[in-house]
Symmetry: C2
Subunit: 210 residues, 2 copies
């Protein structure tokens, strides 16, 4: 299934970097932990980082019901970016980054159905910390009431991916100047128990094996 | 020097996570590689990832002069986020992330002075790949003409930082459930020379020591 390009998601430039397969969209979203949510407040753009989850073709974000930016019915843009490497070229003009990014456009919908709210929160927690929903205490009625969940359909989206070496001009290529890619990776460190965990208690498997 | 809070940058929630020192803003911006630029297009928000540079209290972004989103005079929001750890709590309600983020609001200014344009591009390249401006070929007249540089004043900005263990409710604390933080770090990998670099040629020091 391919993404439906609209005038907004059809790439304006560097079309060869656009990926139109829905699997690419899922892959970029599922590999991320933080999205940047853009919205318009009093005519000006605001971009805020937050966690998210995905169920099929719906992306969910959540927050305190007191958060002023979390309002259904508003136009949003949700962007997820992975930086995979720094591209060193022979001319500074061709320096670049290798990256994967997904840009989702849509109108946020406040989720009101309690089953969908529950499933969405589970998706968000499991996205952030797989294995945790069945391990930690699930939300109380009071906690559910204090939480707003918004849904964004994955209907209008674009994916851009850059991989590979620099695109130097032929005239710049010489034996004397190094060019290539310095890869960037992220990694999980050793889990740090908080002060209430008994000394020597090992983290559970879903944390240990992250 | 502290940041000047306005009604837009005064934090709506979790005020204790706000940092108001300008040094914190510099630190978050200088430690990042990608920013997410938000702008309003036809009334809807758009959020795009891009590189950036900083000189004193000015943040610079750049792109092709053909890029339709790079327009001076428009209101922008530039957000830089570092994810430092996943916070595992004893209740899913208190799961969180440790992070540092900076949100800069302002009106983008098209840089027209050729000296400022040159300095801005050097700042952007040196931010992305320190040591490269004095090593790779600098921009030609044609390349300069093909490049748009925008400036955003670091006048209206907010910084949010979360560190430390989960904030579990006292009633959830038990010896049976592990809680703590799984740190997240990013690291540079081994440089990968492109196909034009002679076999066995070592990368220059500014790449090797990254």
């Amino acid at each position: 299934m391919t993404l439906s390009p609209t005038s907004r998601t059809t790439l304006g430039r560097l079309r060869e970097r656009g990926a139109t397969d829905r699997a690419d969209l899922y892959a970029v979203l599922d590999a991320g932990l933080v999205c940047h949510v853009g919205l318009v407040r009093d005519g000006d753009p605001v971009v805020l980082p937050t966690g998210y989850g995905r169920i099929d073709d719906t992306l969910y974000i959540h927050g305190s019901s007191g958060a002023r930016w979390l309002r259904g019915g508003t136009s949003v843009c949700v962007t997820v970016t992975h930086l995979d490497g720094i591209v060193y070229a022979r001319s500074v003009f061709h320096f670049s980054m290798n990256y994967r990014s997904a840009v989702v456009l849509g109108t946020a919908r406040t989720v009101t159905d309690e089953t969908e709210r529950w499933d969405a929160l589970r998706a968000i927690v499991e996205h952030l910390a797989p294995g945790s929903w069945g391990y930690a205490r699930v939300p109380s009625k009071r906690e559910m009431a204090a939480t707003t969940v918004l849904a964004v359909d994955l209907a209008e989206a674009s994916v851009k991916i850059r991989t590979g070496p620099p695109g130097d001009d032929a005239g710049d290529i010489t034996d004397e100047v190094w060019a290539g890619v310095v890869p960037l990776t992220s990694a999980y460190g050793v889990p740090e128990a908080d002060a209430h965990v008994p000394a020597g208690a090992a983290p559970p498997a879903h944390v240990r094996t992250r």
